[in-house]
Amino acid sequence: MKCYLYDGSFEGIFCVAYHALKNKETPKIYSKTNYQPSFLLEHTEIDSNEQIFKKVKNALIKISAKTYNYLEIAFKSSNIEKDEVIFNCIIKTILSKQNELENFSNEHFFNLNKIVEAVKYEAHRFLGFIRFSKSEKGVFYACFEPDGDIIDLILNHFLKRFYAIPFVLHDINHGKLYACYKGKTQKFFNIYKKVKISDNYAKLFKTYYDTIFIKSRKNERQMLNYMPKRYHKNMPEKNELL
């Protein structure tokens, strides 16, 4: 079986798709970053190329801009199959020359929808789960640890909501940080260490959280369904030390 190697980037997947289409091949694709050589596979390395990426991107947008948008969102996912799904959806859309997003009985588009939904769902969850602490200087700082790289999907919401407040959003899983004030933003990369701030309101909110719970209807499993444990780390109401 044929196999293509690429650099693991979003652009890279498009370039792989370009070569597969051109050579009329249906290869397996592997990111160089986690490829283990195998004797059974004959592999070709495909370099990323800005022009080729744009060519495929434009062709795709011409057919369906929404499809391209879905692929962009899917790439933010932490799902390890996302590259493969994106690759197959590019090929299928270009070959059929139509928007196939709603072709739910097709495996690839079904999976694409599933991945995009999951990314959007996580982003939506973090609109609620983000927690700010007020620093001594009056800056509101929030660190969070999402699975997907969703910071760009939630930034706008907070820019609008907290226009008048200086605030910082910090995704310590992906090392991305935005500092924002009055509509202006500054972006930083590769910052993985969280800032510790103690804020008296955290305790007050925990009191509120503990009080509204109706003991006779205890249902922790459902709580965990909606608010998985891995998200609790940065939520004061879940901090038993408070």
């Binding site: 072709n103 495996e107 609620g128 007020k134 907070f158 907290f162 959280y209 249902n219 709580m223 909606y226």
Partner: protein, 415 residues
């Protein structure tokens, strides 16, 4: 008294109120702080699995009324507290800025008299909007019997207001909430609905998220059929956004006029399911239940309906109109959408439905795919199979419905 202690008491008294939804308002933020989010946002989930969206507190639980079913009633000996408008504003703002909450759900016991209480509530929301420039969500519970003018003014500042019907009939109200009357509750509902209907523009600043109400189920003898007819009138005639059902829990045990047993979550759950069918699935209340009957406990209301109307089934999923697809047990709005989308690309088989993750557990008895039927043959077998599925899924579903509107996962909920 410390703020934390007050917060505890006033939260404790407010927590049985079910409506936590913060959806339906799209307030824009101009230079201030806050905005509404149209779909509603859950900020946390309590250990009972409910969504925390708003800071839900009473201004005070000091009450001069004596409603039999209520914990805050005058004759109960419980810890009491009062928060000043400033205290409420401060705590709301500080919580909001930390993204703990979407806004405020403020309600109150009747302190001194209806007007006095309503004035304090009004004062609080005016301060929040004008002094603190707060653009977040405000749900204000109205005080029955307060002056119309106060109520209308509050409507200029709040996103949503609710006057709770409490009990489904005038008679029960007279018996169990002697200081309240049908008129004192229904007249503000009518007035608000009149004002909303007179100005339908989206820019209208008057209660952009409309009004809701709540009915206590099981404290009085009215059947589900009667309650749902009331609900249906509230949706159709008064254009209420939501009707909430609160299953009665015996809090005041030495009260002879009240039942000693709780109504149970299953009944509340069935009412929410039926309510859902009324609002989104095109069912009429007459199709679902007779006036003097309760909903069946064994099946969900859609299943019960389908079993009664077997002459309409099975339907062919490749050709059935969407109105029929959504009426198939086990196929929800989202499932129906997937089916009508996917069938444009080619005829669908059962295999395709499975790939699309449409659960056929219930549906298979009511559909064909390309003419094939894969359900059971005998009516009694179908019923037994559905009963079994219902029993298995019941534990999970229970109490989920009070959260429905707030969770993306279930916005598209399959029924």
């Amino acid at each position: 008294m410390e703020l934390e202690e007050k917060l505890k008491i006033l939260t404790e008294s407010a927590k049985y109120d079910v409506s936590c939804s913060s959806s339906g308002s799209n307030r824009k933020n101009r230079q201030g702080i806050g905005s509404g989010a149209h779909g509603g946002i859950c900020h946390s989930f309590t250990k009972d699995g409910r969504c925390v969206s708003l800071l839900k507190i009473l201004m005070t639980n000091v009450c001069c009324f004596d409603c039999l079913y209520c914990q805050s009633r005058r004759s109960n000996d419980i810890p009491r507290a009062i928060m000043t408008p400033t205290e409420i504003c401060e705590i709301t703002m500080e919580f909001y800025k930390r993204n703990y909450i979407e806004g405020l759900f403020l309600s109150s016991a009747v302190y001194k008299n209806a007007n006095y209480t309503m004035e304090l509530l009004l004062d609080t929301v005016v301060r929040l909007r004008k002094l603190y420039n707060f653009n977040g969500y405000i749900h204000l519970k109205g005080i029955p019997g307060a002056d119309n003018l106060l109520i209308m003014r509050a409507g200029e500042y709040a996103d949503r207001m609710s006057f709770n019907l409490e009990l489904p009939s005038e008679q029960s109200l007279r018996l169990l909430a002697p200081q309240k009357s049908k008129k004192s509750i229904l007249s503000p509902i009518t007035m608000i609905s009149g004002e909303k209907q007179a100005d339908k523009s989206i820019k209208s600043k008057f209660l952009p998220a409309g009004q809701t109400t709540q009915i206590i189920v099981g404290a009085s003898p009215e059947r589900d059929g009667k309650i749902l007819r009331l609900t249906s009138a509230l949706y159709n005639k008064y254009e209420l956004k939501r009707v909430y059902y609160s299953s009665y829990a015996p809090l005041n045990l030495n009260e002879d006029l009240l039942p000693k047993t709780p109504a149970g979550l299953l009944r509340e759950h069935r009412l929410y399911q039926a309510d859902w069918l009324l609002r989104f699935y095109g069912f009429s209340v007459e199709e679902l239940v007779d006036e003097n009957e309760n909903l069946l406990m064994e099946y969900d209301p859609k299943c019960a309906w389908a079993l009664k109307h077997q002459e309409l089934f099975p339907i062919e999923i490749n050709t059935a109109p969407v109105e029929m697809l959504v009426k198939v047990p086990g196929i929800g709005l989202k499932g129906a959408y997937k089916i009508i989308s996917a069938r444009r690309f080619g005829a669908l088989s059962f295999e395709d439905l499975k790939n699309m993750k449409i659960s056929l557990k219930r549906a298979r008895h009511f559909i064909t795919a390309n003419g094939f039927y894969s359900g059971l043959k005998k009516e009694i077998e179908i019923k037994n199979s559905l009963l079994q599925i219902e029993n298995e899924s019941q534990i999970e579903q229970l109490s989920m419905f009070s959260n429905l509107e707030n969770s993306l996962a279930v916005i598209t909920g399959e029924l």
